[in-house]
């Protein structure tokens, strides 16, 4: 019985979250709030991946905004072309460019290709970068700095290519989402449900990963990489797998973010945005199953609420959040709750 609870307890928790997000929220929230919740869900999807890479794998990924952006821009390009019509080209290209579309936009007319690209592009990018970094045993802080540098480079590149990617303004003004009119509230609700459903799906996936041999190996790599190597495994492959999965999740989050937010711009994917994604994970508890997702939802909600009432002071809160969480609760708020609970209800005996 006890082991059953331990095995399937997390699954029940995911199910509760699923009911809250997919049944309760659409029923009680106004369309505006629901749309906001959709945005938080997209961040949470990326956060689940960060939890896998950082919490379980010990790789502090400070550039997940890049993969978020790859997915987001891939989706946005498709939506842009859908809005422009079969032979049309995106409006901003007429505005800033000479009215011709770069060739690499063309495949994104196809919805199927776009969906494929949302998965494949980040996977390939993360695999190449990860292979180069992990195989040469670059790790720890070096890895974190390299990923952050990647985010800076990516945002700079986007801003500089105004004719191809909309530059600082990003891509916005989408009208259709795979044939569904985005101005119709029913369709907006559907897009929200897809995002929430994907979040639940990602949670179930990492739940399975965490209880698999791979999950054990990942933790072992985090805690004692050399021992794993001496046991005959290559830690680089383990880390690479986690990094690629995290990148794909970030990309999926970004892909859903574009239609829900109605815009994707460099400020959604740059170094600061990447740090914002990490804030939720740190707050919720990076090594826990639900910690990153719940943390990201909370930080997302906090961001909307605080920037509504104090538009300029939001940065203070984000900064203070980092300092407070890392100083006081390095394992996240969830661990603090657990510790408090153990103080109140003392376990009868130490269970190994």
């Amino acid at each position: 019985m006890k082991s059953l609870v331990r095995t399937f307890g997390p699954l029940v928790a995911i199910a509760v979250l699923a009911v809250l997000l997919l049944v309760v929220a659409p029923a009680v929230l106004s369309p505006f709030r629901l749309n906001n919740l959709g945005k938080y869900c997209c961040w949470a999807i990326a956060a689940v991946g960060i939890g896998l890479a950082w919490g379980r794998g010990g790789m502090l990924v400070m550039g997940q905004g890049v993969f978020f952006g790859i997915g987001g821009y891939a989706m946005a390009m498709h939506l842009k072309l859908e809005a422009a019509g079969p032979e049309g080209i995106p409006d901003f290209m007429l505005l800033y460019g000479d009215g011709t579309m770069p060739g690499w936009w063309e495949p994104f007319r196809s919805g199927a290709f776009t969906l494929f690209a949302i998965i494949a592009l980040p996977a390939v990018a993360a695999a190449i970068l990860g292979y180069a970094i992990f195989k040469r045993r670059v790790k720890g802080a070096y890895f974190a700095i390299l990923t952050q540098a990647l985010a800076v480079v990516f945002a700079t590149l986007l801003i500089a290519t105004i004719q191809e990617t909309g530059g600082f303004n990003g891509l916005n003004q989408f009208t259709f989402f795979f044939g569904y009119n985005l101005y119709d509230p029913v369709n907006k609700k559907m897009v929200y449900s897809i995002a929430a459903g994907l979040l639940i799906g990602c949670l179930v996936l990492v739940w399975q990963l965490y209880r698999s041999r791979f999950g054990e190996l990942l933790i072992a790599t985090r805690d004692a990489e050399e021992r794993v190597r001496f046991l005959g495994h290559d830690p680089a492959n383990v880390k690479l797998a986690a990094f690629v999965v995290a990148a794909v999740m970030a990309s999926i989050g970004g892909a859903m973010f574009a239609p829900i937010a109605g815009i994707i711009s460099p400020s959604d994917v740059d170094a600061t945005a990447s740090i914002f994604l990490i804030a939720g994970v740190a707050l919720g508890g990076r090594a826990l199953l639900l910690g990153p997702a719940l943390g990201a939802l909370a930080v997302g909600y906090g961001r909307s609420t605080l920037s509504e009432s104090f538009p300029d002071q939001w940065t203070y809160f984000l900064g203070a959040l980092f300092i407070a969480v890392i100083l006081l609760f390095p394992a996240g708020l969830a661990s603090a709750v657990g510790r408090a609970a153990r103080l109140v209800v003392r376990p009868k005996e130490a269970t190994p």
């Binding site: 040469r136 802080a141 700095i145 800076v152 500089a160 990490i278 984000l318 203070a320 980092f322 890392i326």
Partner: protein, 294 residues
Amino acid sequence: MDSFTTPLLAGTATGALLLIAALGLALTFGQMGVINMAHGEFLMAGAYTAFVTQQIVTNADISIVVALPAAFVVAGLLGLLLEVTVITWMYRRPLDTLLVTVGVGLVLQQLAKDIFGAQGDPVRTPTWLDGNIDVFGYHWPYRQMFTIVLAVMALIALAALLKYSAFGRQIRATVQNRDLAETVGIRTRAVDRITFFIGSGLAGIGGVAVSLISGTNPRLGTTYIISAFLVVVAGGLGQLKGTVIAAFAVGIATSFFADWTSASMAQVATFALVVVFLQLRPQGLFVVRSRGLA
């Protein structure tokens, strides 16, 4: 000829700026394992010190001379404050210091925005730095030469301190083996504090140099911090010469890439260059060898 001298000289100046910024980083990273992401904001603090000094001492010729030591002290004290209040709790947790200082950096940026405004202010160049020298057809501004002189002076001062002073010996002992240093009676925690003060103060001096070239700006730190960290990563820890070579290499390479393509493509190319370089030397240019596994 111009397509060679221009990027070379401008890149050397950029490299000198990166060197000043990276020296402090390499010092604190190498000695304490602390990754200070707020270092860029100390640079910004130095730039704003130059601006404020100029409001008080209106003569630009003199104010810059006052600003240099003032910026060193202001940024150094900020660093000391950070060390005493926050970092002291998280030694041996390098990734956590990284995240905490990210938070500190965000707060400092917003503070600068609230105090001085989001736009940034110009800092007037002293007349003795106004002008340029003709090098193979490139009008090399004195300001850029000043940056290089400043960086070289900071480097010499730091190297001399580390090599010849008793305090420098204590720093080196702490870097090489903290426990043994402690055993022979060095108060390593006190050494850490002073190192942090010096490292942050160097950033302040770098900030003054930046302010002469591009004025002040609340987001000034973020422009330099990543490049400075790439320099530290590529240069390797524990030895100044790695940082020096890497700083000028990154500065000059970026400048050439920018000349051939565009400023943003140059960033991409430099990043790729560092990743490729790490394939050859994963620990950076120079490594202090140890028998440890990690």
